[in-house]
């Protein structure tokens, strides 16, 4: 059961460098392709990206979900600090607000905070509750500009 006294808890920030190869690999994964020539070239070719109106190669819309994994540990530090039961854990939802682009070579710093904790009664089991925890992460680049705000909803069923 999530420890509700942890509402407002801030996690230690982490930073990663955005690597071109990693963007291409991620694009191939979500395009379900084995070749770089089979995905949208804005994700791996600077010239193609510039032709499409970008300053450089950009990242797919859900790429930032990887950042805590690429930095090491993924969501486990948060889950452990909250005392969430892994067996009952579900990824309930994910939301992103986009404020600016992320380019190769950027240093992105992610800072996560527990912003909501609430219970919802199960429709099929009155008196039994599902517990919801919402973690908000601000992703800022090396100039301190907020590029993406993410919200991850974790459910204990």
């Amino acid at each position: 059961m999530a420890d509700k006294s942890k509402l407002g808890m801030e996690m230690q920030s982490y930073s990663i460098e955005i690597e071109k190869g990693k963007i291409a690999e991620f694009a191939m994964a979500i395009f379900q392709k084995e070749g770089k020539d089979q995905v949208d070239p804005i994700y791996l070719d600077q010239k193609a990206a510039q032709k499409a109106g970008y300053n450089d190669i950009i990242v797919p819309p859900t790429f930032q979900f990887c950042f805590p994994f690429l930095a090491g540990g993924g969501l486990m530090p948060i889950i452990q600090r909250l005392g969430i039961d892994l067996i009952r854990l579900l990824h309930g939802g994910e939301e992103y607000d986009y404020f600016g682009p992320i380019y190769p070579g950027d240093i992105i710093t992610g800072k996560a905070k527990v912003v909501e904790m609430y219970d919802k009664e199960k429709k099929d089991k009155p008196g039994k509750f599902m517990e919801f925890t919402v973690v908000e992460t601000e992703f800022r680049n090396q100039r301190g500009e907020l590029v993406i705000k993410g919200r991850t909803t974790i459910i204990e069923r």
Binding site: A29, I42, P61, C66, F69
Partner: protein
Amino acid sequence: MTNKIYFEDIKIGDAMPTFTSDPITRTHMCRYAGASGDFNPIHHDETFVAMFGMPRVIVHGMLIMGITSRAITEWIDNKYLKNFKVRFSGMTEPADLTDANTKARATIIVTGNVVKKFAEGGENRIQCDIRVADALGEVKLTGSFIAALPSK
């Protein structure tokens, strides 16, 4: 890909182009695990999931969201996206190569309709609600995206 879609071209109720994925295999899931760094064994180790009575591994929800993002950005350019949110409602099992009938449960179909056109932050924006289901009609996620589109 650059699509020339203007705010004026979009009407409330318009459908986004329906997108159909390849049937998701364990190989696709391994590729996603490696690319994303998400090595939760629930997505690749059949002996791990067996301990919880599950018959097979389940697909990363974020791979389904990633496939959904591809469907969106094949219609509306990545640079116009302002918000993208999903609520996961069902798990997805990969296709078993030994049984062609399992392809349908692993085939992801993304559909959506424009529900709103509005001005915000000096931009012309649309909201499109999306629904993602497998080829059997089982809903995997529902959500929406908001995009700021250029005007003519």
